[in-house]
Amino acid sequence: MGPAVHTTVDRTIVAPSPPVKGRRSRGDSWPYVFILPMVVCLGLVFAYPLITVIRNSFYSTSMGETTFSGLENYRSLFQDPVFMTSLFNSLKLLAVVPVVTVVAMTIALMLYEGTKGWRAYRLMVFVPYIIPATAIGISFSYLLQQNGILNITLRGLSLDFLALDWIGNSNIVLFSIGGVLVWTQLGFGVVVFTASLLSLPRELSEAAAIDGATRWQTNRLVVLPQVRGTVEFFLVLQAIQVIAWTFPYVYVLTHGGPGNASSVMDLYVWRYAFQYSSPGLSSAAAVVLLLISGVLIAIYTRLRAKQGER
């Protein structure tokens, strides 16, 4: 799952609108009470850990003593081949984003054109998105074995050359994980894009059709530009999902293997904190992950701001 569920694509909200006029006098205390539980929770679960993680990345522990070590952890981090592999893998997985977007948009366009039973299709395509990643991972880890179902089928269809070692070959495994991600995220894209398309006014498309444009031209020149905002949001959301929320898939499918070939950023952070007892490295990696997410968040916020101006 991840953030993609947790961010509806909303055009109208840029910042909270000014409060309703003429309600109470200034100095109301009730809002503070209302937000207090939220602030406490966010403080405990977000603010404190974020500060701690950033702080910890500048310290290292030795002989039971923790001392300030400046950028030492970061230096070790970028010299660690496993980290570099994880970083590049996470970035490589970004290739999933355009694939999902294009396929989802194609399907959404098909459904939006009033295809019969489109609701049923949408229903079915969405299922992989909500199924637990763990269960999916277990299923795929069997399906994708060298002598697993996928390869058996391919061999049965005389497509032997396609029967690769999907999760056992270091060069292919990341591709396979990307494939599983596409399979899971597709439904979300379809639902979001369909809703966006359906909210468009029909007149423009109809006018284009009357003017003699083909379906394809209409889509490209009239429809798509109107949903550009939605697509942009979706791209950013998917990017965040792929960079930072892939742990369950990788953990269950390959455990980061073979030989770290499928290690990704969030797996690395977890592993070095809890399995290898290297809190300094783990914190530094977490900060790097935060920075990357931060860049994406900034893009997201900028897009929403632009959206508000439209």
């Binding site: 081949p81 002598n147 999907w166 056992g168 073979p258 290898y276």
Partner: protein, 454 residues
């Protein structure tokens, strides 16, 4: 206003019930953890958590231990033991996480020597010497694998050899002499070639969990050395892993892979699965454990297989050693509040009835002098027992610091088998990981160097 009243009381009721449920849950959760602190001096009253591992070595061991726990609870109704089977891939990691939280198991298991000593050095283990009488400890086999500063820190459960196993029928099919396995590396390669030509998978192994790369170092890699101290010197920083004396085995592993002698799914299939395939005749040779061979014997397949030593690869003194170890060891965690209870249970596991029951159920050999080898009737198992009790045995993996083993010996070899790393790259990577361990865990490194000398 009446509506408000009802709404208000409904709301209150909802909140109250939610709160009540929450408190109930909290109470339920805390119940189990609190029992620990009520531990009395009585070693037969209390509640233990035992993190168990063994199924991969000895199929059926988990069920046996579960039954043993039930029997023990029957004998001592005041004791409750929760058995939590562990997975190979997460055995070390899960314990590390628990050790950081200082909560979880009272009895934990780790592989012998370094995987036990590392927690010992970090103060996470309570010594068995002192909790269990010397008269008991002296009956256990291979306790030297877990001795440090004159104390025994962990208990062996079974004695495990890692025999080289071949499928006699498949050998005959390929025109090979099935009465013995290949004796030298060249013979081994020749046999592989003949098997491959006959359409048979020469070697069936599963490396998804990564263990095989490390095994290969133990069975093949150490044959170029004269003593285990030479290997310890590498980890202690006194010798370089890049020296072919230490890393030559990676070239041989790559050779097997490149010639196509390993099963095609080696990188995507787990060890247990691969052994299952081997038992079903899908491959001609493998390295297995006593426990797995015992399981095959029980299935009536004993006559199909031959067992023996790994082909001779090197000329070091260690080439004459057999690969056997207690494999996994049980210890009591330093934070356990039930140490006496745990010690009593561990001691009980070595009573004669349990030793016999263990052997009869699983076929693996208990690590105890009081085990009577005359009950080993099956010829294959008798052969294995003889091998296991040869005077010189060693399992080199035991001497690798866990981080080096996990990130280096296992993971890098896995990459090699998956085709993304050459032998020379693998060598430099492992050398780098050894250095990284020395830097990242300086305390462990210092203690290791001292221990290796003494």
């Amino acid at each position: 206003m009446q509506v408000n009243h009802i709404w208000r009381s409904k709301r209150r009721l909802a909140f109250a019930s939610a709160a009540a449920v929450f408190v109930l849950i909290l109470g339920a959760c805390s119940g189990s953890s609190d029992q620990g602190s009520q531990a009395s001096g009585d070693p037969y009253t209390g509640s233990l958590t035992y993190w168990f591992w063994g199924e991969s070595d000895v199929p059926g061991s988990t069920a046996w231990m579960q039954a043993a726990v039930s029997r023990y609870e029957g004998l001592h109704p005041g004791i409750h033991i929760e058995l939590v089977p562990q997975a190979t891939q997460t055995l070390q990691g899960a314990f590390q996480t628990a050790a950081q939280a200082k909560t979880g198991p009272d009895i934990a298991m780790q592989w012998a020597t370094l995987p036990v000593l590392t927690p010992v050095w970090r103060g996470q283990v309570a010594p068995l010497t002192g909790l269990i009488p010397e008269s008991e400890l002296s009956q256990w086999l291979n306790t030297q694998e877990n001795t440090y500063q004159d104390k025994v820190w962990a208990m062996p459960l079974y004695l495990l050899g890692v025999p080289f196993v071949w499928n006699k029928e498949l050998f005959e099919k390929a025109g090979l002499d099935s009465t013995h396995g290949p004796q030298t590396w060249d013979e081994f390669l020749a046999d592989c070639a003949k098997l491959k030509a006959a359409g048979i998978t020469p070697i069936t192994v599963g490396d998804k969990e990564g263990a095989f790369g490390s095994w290969f170092q133990s069975v093949v890699g150490t044959q170029t050395l004269d003593s285990i101290e030479e290997l310890q010197a590498v980890y202690a920083g006194k010798a370089d892993f890049s020296d072919p004396k230490y890393s030559g085995y990676l070239t041989r592993l790559a050779e097997l892979k490149d010639k196509g002698y390993l099963s095609s799914d080696v990188a995507s299939v787990e060890a247990t699965q691969a052994w299952q395939n081997f038992a079903q005749g899908k491959g001609a040779m493998t390295w297995a454990t006593d426990g797995n061979v015992a399981a095959w014997v029980k299935q009536g397949l004993g006559s199909k297989f031959g067992v023996g030593k790994t082909p001779l690869v090197g000329t070091g003194k260690l080439a004459q050693y057999y690969d056997a170890t207690q494999s996994i060891s049980a210890f009591i965690t330093s934070w356990s509040a039930e140490k006496a209870q745990a010690a009593a249970f561990l001691t009980w596991l070595h009573t004669p009835e349990n030793l016999t029951s263990w052997y009869t159920t699983t076929g693996a050999f208990p690590a105890d002098k009081r085990f009577d080898p005359s009950v080993v009737k099956d010829p294959v198992m008798a052969q294995l027992y003889k091998l296991d009790t040869l005077p010189n045995q060693l399992w080199a993996e035991n001497y690798a610091p866990p981080q080096v083993d996990d990130q280096g010996l296992r993971t890098v070899a896995q990459a090699l088998l998956a085709g993304s790393t050459s032998a020379s790259d693998a060598t430099s990577q492992i050398a780098g990981i050894i250095k990284a361990w020395q830097t990242q865990q300086p305390d462990d490194f210092k203690t290791y160097a001292k221990w290796a000398e003494g």
